[in-house]
């Protein structure tokens, strides 16, 4: 199992300076957070989707379509039923909804999906090492970025171990799909015990290996194997992202893209 969602491709997004990509993320995230009108939210979603295409991240996005769908449905339902709206036209006991609350819920679902897409685009075109490299460049200590790298490393490692353990138990006839909810939960014990035991042993081994590869000395004298050159394209990316974020904020402050005012 691959250790990250990074896709080994050579798109223009892959070639951008890691710091440019990291800094551009902030204004890119601001835009979807700005609007609560579903049409405007759809606009930011389309921008995010364009970035997914530019980063060659469509296969990763496909893997996450279920999560995106859940975010959209749950957000629509929750906001539709929970948004305080005196003009509610549909009532069921303590629950009520209105066309505005439904539209707001859809906008929130689209917002979450736009941000999910940005995240997928970013991790698909940026290696974990490039991310931690850019953090060090903006002043985060090497020991902290190392800890972050280990998180990137351990999560997929656990997923990989879980996959092998699942196969090993299925090979002994364990069926995850039959029986009631309690029976199904019980079936995860044969997975959890070996995964956790293996994870603890591996974490121990990884710590030893890291120390033996001088990771403990990292913050004092570290050098970098890769250097990234800042180009005009990186400046353009950052400028575009800032302009996009600023335009979104200006539009919202001018009264565009909102169906519900500040609550």
């Amino acid at each position: 199992m691959a250790l990250s969602l990074y896709r080994h491709e050579d798109t223009p997004a892959h070639r951008r300076h890691p710091v440019a990509k990291l800094l551009a993320l902030t204004p890119l995230f601001v835009a979807p957070l700005t609007f609560n009108d579903p049409l405007w939210a759809l606009g930011t979603l389309m921008v995010s989707f364009t970035l997914v295409l530019a980063a060659g991240a469509l296969p990763n996005l496909r893997r996450m379509w279920g999560l995106g769908a859940i975010l959209l449905v749950m957000s629509t339902l929750l906001w539709a039923l929970m948004l305080p709206d005196r003009e509610a036209v549909w009532r069921l006991g303590p629950l009520f909804a209105s066309p505005t609350s439904v539209a707001y819920g859809i906008a929130m679902g689209l917002r979450l999906n736009a941000m999910l897409m940005l995240g997928v685009a970013y991790v698909s075109c940026t290696r974990p090492e490039e991310f931690t490299w850019s953090l060090r460049r903006i002043g985060i200590p090497a020991t902290m970025t190392l800890a972050l790298s280990l998180t990137f490393r351990l999560v997929p490692m656990l997923a990989g171990t879980a996959q092998t353990v699942t196969q090993a138990q299925m090979a002994r006839g364990l069926d995850f799909h039959s029986g009631g909810p309690l029976a199904r939960i019980g079936r995860y014990i044969p997975l959890m015990v070996p995964v956790l035991a293996y994870a603890m042993r591996s974490a121990d081994d990884l710590t030893r290996a890291l120390e033996s590869r001088r990771a403990g000395a990292a913050s004092k004298q570290r050098t970098e194997y890769y250097e990234y050159a800042w180009t005009a394209a990186d400046t353009a990316l950052l400028a575009l992202a800032l302009a996009y974020g600023a335009a979104a904020v200006w539009l919202r402050l001018s009264g565009f893209g909102e169906i519900v005012g500040r609550m």
Partner: protein, 562 residues
């Protein structure tokens, strides 16, 4: 990286892990000169890994327990110093090499330690290239380590240790996942490093590799039992067995026929001829006719291809074969040739992207999990990927319960499986405190309890000492003789030659050969093309002009005086 004089010195070193009843190593002393190459051997649990951890400072710095004695490397005391300081001088490769990998591509993985050491970029580039060249991974420098085969990962972990060019290298079982050619290549690298003045301590179970080193140190129950020239100990099969070392085939043959043979094939055939020994053609011919008759088809693969979705790598290409009842089949091939992928098709863990796999006539794409598990048992290389119960009995009962057996039936199956794996009486023991060899037997028992018609075993001998390896293969041979079809993946050529009837050789996902083990180990061109090496006895029998013989037993049986 070279130096002169004493490189490593351990005096009266003892260590007891926290909570353990007895010391893992007890009063071990050893000195290694700069450029010396020493092998550390002995049973699993003899204390080899503990001694390795003492040399690079992990013990006592990072491992709770009671430490006594003194370790010095390059004249400096190890205990009390940070592990990353000791790492300037001592490079260490650990047994669990997969846990050592953390980068998103091969090149970055090797560069990690160099970055931490604060090395200039140009120097890093040179060292990364040299280390990858040394271990034969130059062509894979852009690959994600997670997508490499086990053997490739092991070589990558080694490259990461070699790149900082430490004066002392401690390698704990560096060849467990390597194919025979990669092992040979590693031996060449080790010799090259020694010639450059690097001091090497290698913990391993392979006597043939140790034969070429300067020195062999054998541990038993935490104490040093031998420290001297490798050939002196390895020429004595009885003493090797006592120390948990699988005897060299030629040493054993020599002992059986009552003559001192060279320990390697070169010159052994001549020595036998000079003593008036020849191989009896009639007796050799009888061996070929003794191969068991296979039964009905059990597993049928037709035009099977498989591509991993994540990496896009095509691991199998148009494989067609049939496994028949009662066969003992070995899957051979280089690291990354598709062996594990093929094996996982044999019980439906993977479904082909093209072609069909039928087990007992049922297409694996549509057959339910339990039905496949009842027919084909699969054992992963690492028993810890399946063990979860607190007693051996519960662990072994897990499979039959999943298959819907009643409690009385489960009890009967557990008893039968434990008896088959010689674990009767161990019912209430905790599997987590057993040795790896014992845990592997528990895993095998838990699969046997499902009464499968076929057992697929990925690397049954990995991580076991020589004596445990022999015991595991004997166990599989007995199960096969009792009617179970056995399929193993192994890089252990002696085990393949001695126990299997039929060999499937994979080469870059294609089936390069499907014939008897005798034919495969007799085909020099095929072996060279697919990165395999024939066992010593096979090479001697060929040098004596006879057909390929596969074991010391066969050699002894066919050798006659002229």
């Amino acid at each position: 990286m070279s130096g002169r004089g004493q490189a490593v010195s351990a005096r009266e070193v003892s260590f007891t892990y926290r909570g353990a009843q007895r010391p893992a190593i007890d009063g071990v002393s050893l000195e290694l000169q700069a450029g010396e190459q020493a092998y550390l051997m002995g049973r699993t649990g003899a204390g080899k890994s503990t001694l390795c951890l003492c040399l690079n400072g992990v013990i006592p710095k990072m491992q709770p327990g009671e430490f006594a004695g003194e370790v010095r490397v390059g004249g400096e005391r190890v205990s009390g110093r940070q592990v990353y300081e000791v790492a300037r001088t001592v490079g260490a490769l650990f047994q669990n090499f997969e846990a050592q990998l953390l980068a998103s591509d091969v090149e970055r993985e090797v560069a990690f330690g160099l970055e931490s050491a604060g090395m200039p970029r140009e120097e890093m580039r040179r060292r990364v290239s040299e280390a990858l060249e040394l271990v034969g991974l130059s062509d894979l420098r852009g690959r994600d380590p997670a997508t490499l085969s086990g053997g490739q990962k092991q070589r990558l972990a080694l490259a990461a240790v070699l790149a900082p060019e430490p004066a002392v290298l401690v390698l704990d079982e560096p060849t467990t996942d390597l194919d025979p050619i990669a092992r040979r290549e590693l031996a060449r690298v080790v010799d090259e490093l020694s010639a450059q003045g690097v001091t090497l301590l290698i913990a391993d179970h392979e006597a043939l590799d140790a034969l070429h080193s300067d020195r062999l140190i054998a541990l038993s129950e935490g104490t040093k039992r031998y420290d001297g020239p490798p050939d002196e100990l390895l020429a004595d099969p009885a003493r090797c067995t006592e120390l948990g070392i699988l005897p060299l085939q030629l040493a054993e043959l020599g002992a059986r026929v009552g003559m001192a043979l060279p320990l390697e094939p070169a010159g052994a055939a001549e020595a036998l001829s000079a003593e008036g020994r020849r191989l009896d053609a009639e007796e050799c011919g009888l061996l070929a006719s003794e191969a068991p008759e296979p039964g009905e088809p059990l597993i049928e693969l037709e035009g099977v291809s498989f591509t991993y979705r994540e990496s896009g790598e095509q691991a199998l290409r148009d494989v067609t074969l049939t496994i028949r009842e009662g066969e003992f089949v070995v899957l051979l091939g280089e690291n990354g040739s598709g062996k594990s992928t093929l094996a996982q098709h044999l019980n439906g863990l993977l479904s082909p992207t093209a072609g069909t796999v039928r087990i007992g006539g049922r297409d694996t794409r549509t057959a339910p999990v339990q039905e496949l598990a009842a027919q084909v048992g699969y054992l992963f290389q690492n028993p810890d990927h399946q063990i979860f119960s607190s007693t051996v009995r519960e662990e072994v009962a897990f499979g039959p319960r999943n298959l819907g057996s009643g409690e009385r039936e489960v009890e009967a199956r557990v008893a039968e499986a434990l008896a088959a794996t010689e674990l009767s009486g161990w019912e209430t023991r905790d599997p987590f405190v057993l040795t790896k060899g014992e845990r592997q037997r528990v895993a095998l028992a838990s699969v046997l309890a499902c009464r499968p018609r076929v057992i697929v075993f990925d690397e049954p001998t990995t991580g076991l000492d020589g004596i445990q390896q022999r015991a595991m293969m004997e166990l599989l041979a007995r199960l096969n003789a009792e009617g179970t079809t056995v399929i193993v993946i192994t890089h252990c050529t002696w085990a393949a030659a001695e126990y299997a009837h039929r060999a499937l050789v994979l080469d870059e996902g294609r089936l390069a050969a499907d014939s008897s083990v005798r034919e495969v180990f007799g085909d020099a061109e095929l072996l060279a093309r697919t990165g395999q090496v024939a066992p010593d006895v096979a090479r001697i029998s060929q040098a004596l002009g006879a057909q390929t013989l596969l074991s010391v037993d066969e050699m002894e049986r066919c050798l006659k005086r002229t």
